[in-house]
């Protein structure tokens, strides 16, 4: 080719494209940035009009998110000096901290259910994906399509019998029940994604291992698993993000013990309606891990969200 390439855009069109994309990215960022800022506002700053961009930052929202408080008389407040910085913040409203709020518990539930179901779906998914990738399975294509099609159902369509079934088995509102449920939802993604990753590992590696005297099983975990490690890791993060974000089943099937954070965050009430800084603080804490994972996952993103149907 000569120095002039027809497919290389001109500098001017690059500059033009770049500025439009950056403009869109900035508009995308506004709601996210706003919610993070709101987490550091005082309740009065959060609802002031016009909206305040410059304000005095406070951790009040975070304190309100994590604690339960009660109003106290002046005598009580005078007799008991504040114990720490968080106590000092609530003192301004004549309140004292009486204990933790439910947020910590709900967040922990999200962690337990998220990681539990991720582990289970990746574990089962890896086994199934390996089998689909390497062995002749009767009706393999139909089985794979069946696995994918379970993802098409609206969650509400199967929620009624699952609700009845869980009620009979004593699984409703338990961690185990939610872990099994999210595993069933995630496993289609895990099998499809991992099959793609394992397909890419040359079969010759295992064949060499088999000839060296490994059993099939040894070849699987000593040769294939290490090769598939990156694929397994990114599959795990996609499963985790899904279980982390799930709302419909969480709101229908859990109430007290196993409820995750998404149904809880919108219910944080302050004086006179929703406590927006606390809601924003909860949203920020909840969204941050996913944002970090997204940045880490950039490379595998497309494959993960399309079940590997489109490869970059």
């Amino acid at each position: 080719m000569s120095a002039y390439s027809v497919t290389e855009p001109s500098t001017r069109s690059k500059w033009f494209a770049g500025s439009l994309v950056i403009l869109y990215a900035l508009i995308t960022m506004i709601p996210l940035a706003w919610i993070m800022l709101t987490g550091f506002k005082s309740p009065s700053d959060a609802i002031s009009y016009p909206p305040k961009v410059v304000f005095e930052p406070t951790l009040e929202g975070y304190v309100n998110l994590f604690t339960t408080r009660t109003r106290q008389t002046q005598e009580f407040l005078d007799a008991n000096p504040p114990q720490n910085w968080a106590d000092e913040i609530v003192r301004e409203y004549d309140m004292v901290i009486v204990g933790p709020s439910k947020f910590g518990e709900r967040f922990l539930n999200s962690v337990i259910i998220g990681f539990g179901s991720t582990f289970l779906s990746v574990f089962l998914g890896t086994l199934a994906a390996y089998a689909f990738s390497r062995f002749k399975i009767p009706l393999a294509d139909d089985l794979l399509f069946f696995i994918l099609s379970t993802r098409m159902m609206p969650p509400i369509a199967v929620a009624i019998p699952i609700f009845l079934m869980y009620r009979n088995l004593g699984l409703s509102d338990t961690h185990l029940g939610m872990i099994l449920l999210y595993t069933a939802v995630n496993i289609s993604l895990a099998v499809w994604l991992l099959k793609g990753f394992i397909d890419e590992i040359p079969r010759e590696y295992e064949e060499a291992a088999l000839i060296d005297g490994y059993t099939r099983f040894q070849a699987f975990y000593k040769v294939v698993l290490p090769q598939a490690a990156t694929g397994i890791a990114s599959t795990a993060i996609f499963c985790l993000i899904f279980a982390w974000n799930e709302y419909a089943f969480a709101v229908l099937l859990t109430s007290a013990t196993a409820q995750t954070a998404p149904p809880f965050i919108p219910t944080i009430i302050g004086v006179g309606g929703l406590d927006w800084p606390a809601v924003a603080a909860g949203a920020t804490i909840f969204l941050l891990p996913v944002m970090i994972f997204t940045i880490l996952l950039r490379k595998h993103l497309l494959r993960g969200i399309t079940f590997g149907a489109v490869r970059k």
């Binding site: 995308t28 062995f135 089985l143 088999l210 099983f217 709101v251 229908l252 909840f286 969200i305």
Partner: protein, 315 residues
């Protein structure tokens, strides 16, 4: 293939080693590896689905434990298909689907086309644009509700700033005309990046030599766009529409948090309506029939669509 190689290896090696190579037979391993997944899906997807079908022919109510469900045939289906309110919900869902997909395809494709110009730092900006779709729809819906507040919300402030209107004169979530659009806006914000990513993959799959050949033939840039770029990206774009269509048809979390179906029932999409029937009115049998109708609709539309998609791919 592997089977034969393993067997060959087994034959060529001494007896003692051969046993070790075999271990469990490949067929046994295949079954052991696949069975738990299939079992789990049967238990938590297929069994409930069959149960839903069975319930759909009864007048069962899940909140009344001591009453036996009574078989009532197709009466639930008949009632749903003749209920004008449900047709309104279907209509609202169709509108929602149409506008979100149209906007997302338009903006998503444009963005992908711009990003494909390979300007400096496009990787960073792409990652930022992609962030919203990875977040929890319920939490996103909740904080957009804050942005939409007429008195204090940033959205109203910005719109008022650019249009000169009074920010409390329009309520995105409270007005019958605007509420559906408030959902369309958030859904577009959240999911345009998805369409963009897939279009980008499509654009990057077009080999340079096609454009070079077109240039030799002196085809104009515009002509190249319509005869090369669009047809080559089309299968990818159709796949994006399929995925978004299925997802938005069962959309629940975002809308519940944002409008809760209101005002009135203007944003009551089918899945929200279904939740209300099943878990608030406890009309379990009726809701089951409703769920089956929705499932068959998605499955049917998706199958027809996939056939069309395969035809486009073959071209």
């Amino acid at each position: 293939m592997t089977d034969t190689i393993a067997n060959r290896a087994a034959k060529a090696t001494p007896q003692r080693v051969a046993r070790k190579i075999k271990g469990l037979s490949d067929r046994a391993i295949a079954w052991i590896f696949v069975a738990p997944t299939i079992f789990l899906l049967l238990a938590i997807n297929i069994f409930p689905l069959i149960w839903t079908i069975q319930l759909s022919f009864t007048n069962y109510r899940a909140n009344r434990l001591n009453r036996e469900p009574e078989f009532i045939g197709l009466r639930n289906y008949e009632r749903i298909l003749t209920d004008s309110d449900i047709w309104l919900n279907m209509q609202a869902t169709a509108h929602f689907l149409f506008w979100t997909i149209a906007l997302q395809v338009l903006i998503g494709f444009t963005l992908a086309w711009l990003i494909n110009k390979k300007f400096k730092g496009n990787d960073l900006w792409t990652t930022i644009i992609v962030l919203p779709m990875m977040l929890s729809p319920a939490v996103v819906g909740n904080f957009w509700k804050f942005l939409y507040q007429p008195q204090i919300g940033l959205f109203n402030y910005i719109v008022a700033f650019f249009t000169g209107k009074d920010p409390s004169s329009f309520e995105m979530l409270g007005s019958v005309q605007l509420a559906p659009w408030s959902i369309v806006i958030v859904d577009t914000w959240m999911w345009t990046p998805f369409v963009m990513l897939i279009c980008l993959a499509g654009l990057r799959s077009i080999p340079d030599y096609i454009y070079e050949a077109a240039e030799v033939d002196r085809a104009s840039k515009l002509r190249q766009f319509f005869t090369i770029t669009i047809p080559m990206v089309l299968p990818f774009l159709m796949l994006a529409v399929l995925f978004r269509g299925i997802e938005n048809f069962k959309m629940f979390d975002l809308v519940v948090q944002l409008t809760g179906g209101g005002p009135g029932s203007t944003t009551e999409l089918t899945s929200i309506n279904l939740k209300r029937e099943a878990f608030e009115k406890w009309r379990t049998g009726y809701a089951s029939a409703y769920a089956i109708i929705l499932f068959v609709t998605v499955f049917g539309l998706a199958s027809i669509y996939v056939k069309a998609l395969n035809k486009v791919k073959e071209r």
